[in-house]
């Protein structure tokens, strides 16, 4: 048996590893920017798709189907992003008699339309946030809704996900411009400019539930994940379990999630996202009809292999465990490592990774799509990979995370590693007191300030600069260090929406 992953980076490696564990051969596809990428080097087969731009490579459906035909692959896994959650692609796979590793096209479609899914959830009795019930033709429709629901509101790409194409609008004055850009970005990312609006619930947490359902009609929720630490609607750190979810709330969240999945006859791994309000009430946000970026924290705590389970389900296997078998052990935290500069407002930091040192020892897991010497192309999402740390309990996991981060080194591109280091010392984070806006407030309050050079740093620099025997030090890809102190400069860049 042979499985093709229509994706790149860490998620391609994750799925290939699941295949190896299951004795399934692997097929990689790649753009000209990725010929030397790790996911190609790990695969049993590899086929070129086209030039770097995603539309000509990882979104190029005919080329991907041809690659499957050429290598006699019988399974296709979309990973996340790119063609995941694209019903048309799922249908094209079925038409080509390929087993799509994921839910049915109808389920993808139903959940893919945020407005349609909202109506469906309301019907299924799953609570939803007030919002426009269909894509807005123009900004004026949104204004009407906003006047009723009141600002702030949130603009979302109807076909979107992962915060891409999302915009907060605080006043009517900004609405036209925001609508224009959100809609153009929606078109750019999802080839569908439809945008709708939602009332913004203030001070909520983002809690999601992992759902696994087989083709025999069994649906199980595998606990929740805490995903409130976000920046620009982009998850930064995820945990399992959530520090604020007790057994009772967990049960209610899980049954709501299973109900949501049942409403679309969901079969595969999927994730139901909820907003948890300070008063304990929660609202359906959306369902991600794919393997979630942060699935490893659930795997580490429940001792399951979601990636392998998803493939087994696609092959018609029954779930390998029942609700009763599931046992939670300890606490897991995932840090998303993006090639972006937290000290320049998270501006993308493409380049070549001149040095990569991964921590080892107990309780650490790496899902990473780059190696030392890898070049991070400007054409794709800048996530390099994920660091996952496990500990007997949450406080141990956080102490261990701090240790692991002290061993972690990436040079050549900037990453958010310094941010995670500071989180480990933050009282609110330690006590689990945060909502989805907390991280941005903390960043604005200077969470990242004060990385001034210590006397030890000066000694190290002096010893290195005066070492004639050393090969010429590789120049860092970053701008002059003196710029770092330039707050004016830092201000001068605003990262776009994520």
């Amino acid at each position: 048996m042979r499985l093709l992953v229509a994706n790149r980076g860490e998620i391609a490696l994750r799925i290939f590893r699941a295949c190896r564990d299951m004795g399934i051969e692997t097929v990689a596809v790649f753009s000209d920017a990725d010929r030397k990428a790790p996911h190609v080097a790990m695969a049993d087969y590899a086929v070129r798709l086209g030039p770097p731009p995603a539309r000509e490579s990882y979104l190029n459906v005919p080329a991907i189907l041809e690659a499957a035909r050429k290598t006699k692959a019988s399974l296709i896994h979309p990973g996340y992003g790119f063609l995941a959650e694209n019903a048309g692609f799922a249908r094209a796979c079925a038409a080509a008699e390929l087993t799509f590793v994921g839910p049915s096209p109808d389920a993808i479609e139903a959940m893919g339309s945020k407005t349609g899914s909202r109506r469906m959830m309301e019907a299924a009795g799953v609570p939803v946030v007030p919002g426009t019930t269909k894509p807005a033709a123009d900004a004026s429709e949104l204004k009407a809704f906003a006047r009723k629901a009141g600002y702030p509101i949130l603009l979302k790409a109807a076909a979107g996900g992962g915060g891409k194409g999302m915009r907060r609008v605080d006043s009517e004055g900004d609405l036209d411009a925001a609508f224009a850009r959100a809609s153009s970005e929606a078109k750019a990312f999802f080839n569908d400019g439809a945008v709708y609006a939602e009332k913004l619930v203030e001070g909520p947490r983002h809690i999601e539930v992992q759902v696994v359902a087989d083709s025999r009609g069994r649906r199980i929720a595998v606990g929740e994940r805490e995903c409130s630490l976000q920046r620009r609607h982009q998850k930064v750190v995820e945990e399992c379990p959530s520090p604020v979810v007790d057994e009772d709330l967990r049960e209610r969240l899980c049954s709501a999630a299973v109900a949501a999945a049942a409403a679309v006859d969901y079969v595969s791994c999927g994730t139901v996202e909820f907003l948890l309000a300070p008063d304990g009430s929660f609202y359906f946000l959306e369902m991600n009809t794919r393997l979630q970026v942060e699935h490893p924290v659930t795997e580490e705590v429940y001792g399951v292999d979601l990636a392998a389970e998803m493939i087994a389900i696609a092959l018609g296997e029954p779930l390998s465990w029942s609700e009763g078998d599931l046992r939670r052990l300890g606490h897991a935290i995932e840090c998303r490592i993006y090639a972006e500069d937290p000290r320049r407002d998270f501006a993308p930091s493409p380049g070549t990774i001149t040095s990569l040192r991964l921590p080892a020892g107990p309780g650490v897991r790496h899902d990473i799509g780059v190696e030392q010497g890898s070049t991070v192309p400007i054409d794709y999402d800048p996530m390099l990979g994920k660091l996952v740390v496990w500990g007997p309990d949450r406080s141990w996991a956080i102490r261990r995370l701090a240790r692991v981060l002290s061993e972690y080194e990436i040079a050549g591109v900037e990453t958010a590693l310094p941010l995670f280091r500071r989180l480990c010392r933050d009282a609110d984070f330690l006590s689990g007191k945060f909502d989805v806006q907390w991280l941005e407030r903390r960043l604005a309050a200077g969470l990242l300030d004060g990385s001034e050079a210590s006397p030890e740093d000066v000694l190290l620099a002096a010893a290195a600069l005066s070492d004639e025997k050393a090969p010429a030090a590789a120049a860092s890809s970053s701008a002059p260090a003196s710029l770092w102190r330039a707050s004016g400069r830092r201000e001068s860049l605003r990262g776009g929406p994520r």
């Binding site: 995603a54 850009r181 970005e185 750019a188 500069d341 501006a347 993308p348 493409p350 001149t354 040095s355 040192r357 400007i378 054409d379 999402d381 800048p382 002290s406 061993e407 040079a411 590693l417 310094p418 280091r421 990385s451 001034e452 050079a453 030890e456 740093d457 000066v458 000694l459 190290l460 620099a461 002096a462 010893a463 290195a464 600069l465 005066s466 070492d467 050393a470 030090a473 590789a474 120049a475 860092s476 890809s477 970053s478 701008a479 002059p480 260090a481 003196s482 710029l483 770092w484 102190r485 330039a486 707050s487 004016g488 400069r489 201000e491 001068s492 860049l493 605003r494 776009g496 994520r498």
Partner: protein
């Protein structure tokens, strides 16, 4: 006994001289009023391990940058404004603080999507200057201060390298 002279920029005033005397495997580093004898070795992966007299051990990587050195150590990445030669000029940001001209440069390789201002335009602090797209993200570059746009070389559609000059703003004397 080889000796090298380095210059440490301490923000204000003249850069401080740092003397390094190589002594066998180690070296003596003199800066301001402090002097350290350190045993320093280069590790196989290019990092340095220093052992101070009291036994303290410091391991880290030093990356030379145009402004000095970036030290990566214990998961932290700190800029050290130290260099082999006397720094040519004060950092731009200083100028920014004292008024005068601020240069706006591309902070990463990317494509200019739109340009909102031209030479001679007056801009307020926070005004949108241009939009740069990289890694499928649209980055709005805004003015960090009020002033008059002087040179404006950026053009929509153009691809620029990180550090490329885009435009400059002269602040008005209040």
């Amino acid at each position: 006994m080889r000796r090298s002279v380095l210059f440490l920029e301490a923000g204000e005033g003249e850069p401080i001289q740092v003397l390094v005397e190589r002594r066998g495997a180690g070296c003596r580093v003199a800066q301001r009023d402090r002097r350290d004898d350190v045993d320093a070795v280069r590790l196989p992966d290019g990092r340095y391990s220093l052992i101070l007299e009291d036994g303290r051990q410091i391991t880290g990587r030093a990356l030379e940058t145009s402004g000095g050195v970036r030290v990566i150590r214990r998961g932290e990445s700190s800029p050290v404004a130290i260099s082999r030669g006397r720094p040519a000029s004060r950092p731009l940001a200083g100028a920014g603080a004292e008024g005068g001209v601020e240069e706006v440069r591309a902070l990463m390789h990317g494509r200019i999507v739109e340009v909102r201002v031209g030479a001679g335009d007056r801009v307020e602090q926070g005004a949108l200057l241009l939009v740069l797209e990289a890694m499928k993200m649209q980055n709005e570059i805004r003015a960090s201060r009020a002033g008059i746009v002087e040179r404006a070389q950026a053009q929509a559609g153009q691809t620029v390298e990180g550090g490329a000059f885009l435009l400059s703003i002269r602040s008005e004397n209040i």
